[in-house]
């Protein structure tokens, strides 16, 4: 009974700690998902688009669909940091592009059917009762090569 009570208290205390301190101590978590306040003024993401050899354009859709999201968020972070450190941002961008190519190759086996990779800045704003989406090309990367290497990049 004493040990059981001690065990229960330990679990309860740990749950309380992560809840009220607002931090994760894996596997205990404070579950902060969707807690940030967002505005309808502008929602911004960065998304990867692929162009095939015959000119067809489509979004990169990984079967593990969080990967495009992660790449986009890291790219967004790099864009933000780019204001202070352009060199680091360039390295980060090349790393992300190499990862995209690597993942494409893992999932599809062959990246030679793609001639270019585009980074698109997608924004959405609430205007008079409707969401208006705007896509703007921010970077182009041609010459995807197997092995994760990044070909020519233009901004």
């Amino acid at each position: 009974m004493f040990l059981t009570s001690l065990f229960i208290i330990a679990i309860v205390v740990q749950l309380a700690v992560v809840t009220f301190h607002g931090r994760d101590i894996w596997p205990f978590s404070h579950y902060p998902m969707f807690s940030g306040l967002k505005t309808r003024a502008e929602v911004e993401i960065y998304r990867v688009a692929l162009e095939t050899a015959d000119g067809e354009l489509h979004w990169w859709r990984s079967r593990f669909y969080r990967y495009p999201e992660r790449v986009g968020r890291d790219w967004q972070q790099a864009e933000f940091l780019g204001r202070r450190s352009p060199a680091l941002t360039l390295l980060e961008r090349r790393r992300l592009l190499a990862e995209v190519i690597r993942l494409l190759q893992l999932e599809e086996g062959d990246v030679s059917r793609y001639s270019a990779l585009y980074i698109v800045r997608r924004t959405a704003a609430w205007r008079m009762g409707v969401w208006v989406v705007n896509d703007r090309l921010v970077a182009t990367h041609k010459g995807l090569k197997a092995g994760g290497s990044v070909g020519r990049s233009d901004r």
């Binding site: 009974m1 059981t4 065990f7 229960i8 679990i11 309860v12 749950l15 992560v18 809840t19 009220f20 607002g22 994760d24 101590i25 894996w26 596997p27 205990f28 978590s29 404070h30 579950y31 902060p32 998902m33 969707f34 807690s35 940030g36 306040l37 967002k38 505005t39 309808r40 929602v43 993401i45 998304r47 979004w59 079967r63 593990f64 669909y65 969080r66 990967y67 495009p68 999201e69 992660r70 790449v71 986009g72 890291d74 990862e99 690597r102 993942l103 893992l106 999932e107 997608r122 959405a124 609430w126 009762g129 409707v130 969401w131 989406v133």
Partner: protein, 277 residues
């Protein structure tokens, strides 16, 4: 409240802990088998290259990055532990195997969309069942229900904390609906989810859903104090997660559903009596 805590240790006429252990382990084993291949394939994409290494267990011990072979071994260990715990032979030994294996297995694939924090409760539940002597006793032996209360408390903490973080970071403004609209559009921009697009165009619906979300998350713990409310909150929870799954592809129920079985032990016993088992 003190009266309620005493109830944790008063034996019930049947072993609800053992019933929950069987249901939980069976359901988790099924989910593991169903998603085995996809999870193994995800592991092979080397998620650590984008997401970083596995977390520290309890903030102290850095969990290792396993090789593919050891990842599969940990998965098999989890499966064997779960299936062994169902048999009733050396239950707590198998639960210990499942607990250790679950820690090493899931931490390797945490970035996977249906894993992330959605599996956080699994090692906690396994730990609770391991610590409960009732897990190894027959179904008809009277045993105290504290393991089930503690499991429900872990569920309640998940929702309460989620609600508190929303209030902490956004205050009551989170309930206005605009934030939910923005998150829905965010998901649409990523994944072209039509349901998210349609819902984001309904500000009043989003406002109602936002207020409902806050109320649900901040009051789920009340189900622990009022047993009559338990099933209401359990159903609300299922609807909440089904909605998130349909609109934003957030599949919490894959690995949370086994934990939710803590609410159906009464029904399970009723079913057994019906079939004279």
């Amino acid at each position: 409240m003190i009266g309620s805590l005493q109830n944790w240790f008063i034996p019930l006429e049947a072993n609800h802990t053992r019933m929950f252990a069987v249901l939980f382990c069976a359901a988790l084993a099924v989910q593991l088998i169903v998603h085995w291949r996809a999870q193994a394939q995800f592991f092979q994409t080397q998620p650590a290259r984008l997401y970083g290494p596995p977390p520290r267990l309890m903030g102290l011990w850095q969990l290792p990055t396993l090789s593919y072979r050891w990842f599969l071994v940990s998965g098999f260990g989890l499966l064997i532990g779960l299936l062994g715990a169902i048999t009733g032979a050396a239950t707590r030994l198998f639960l210990l195997l499942a607990l250790i294996s679950s820690v090493f297995y899931f931490c390797q694939i945490l970035p996977l969309s249906w894993i992330q924090r959605k599996t956080n409760l699994l090692p906690l539940v396994l730990l609770i069942l391991l610590a409960a002597p009732a897990s190894a006793k027959p179904l008809d032996s009277p045993t105290p229900p504290w393991p089930l209360f503690l499991t429900k408390l872990c569920l309640a903490q998940m929702y309460l904390s989620a609600g508190l973080q929303k209030l902490r970071r956004g205050g009551l403004a989170w309930g206005k609906g605009e934030t939910l609209q923005a998150y829905l559009i965010d998901h649409y921009l990523w994944g072209d989810t039509k349901a998210a697009w349609r819902l984001a165009h309904c500000p009043r619906v989003c406002r109602v859903l936002s207020i409902g979300t806050l109320i649900f998350e901040l009051t789920f713990w009340a189900a622990l104090l009022q047993p009559g409310w338990t099933m209401i909150y359990a159903v609300m929870g299922l609807l909440f997660h089904l909605g998130a799954s349909a609109s934003m592809r957030i599949h919490y129920l894959k690995y949370l559903a086994p934990v939710y079985l803590v609410f159906v032990t009464d029904a399970a016993f009723h079913f057994l009596r019906l079939w004279n088992l």
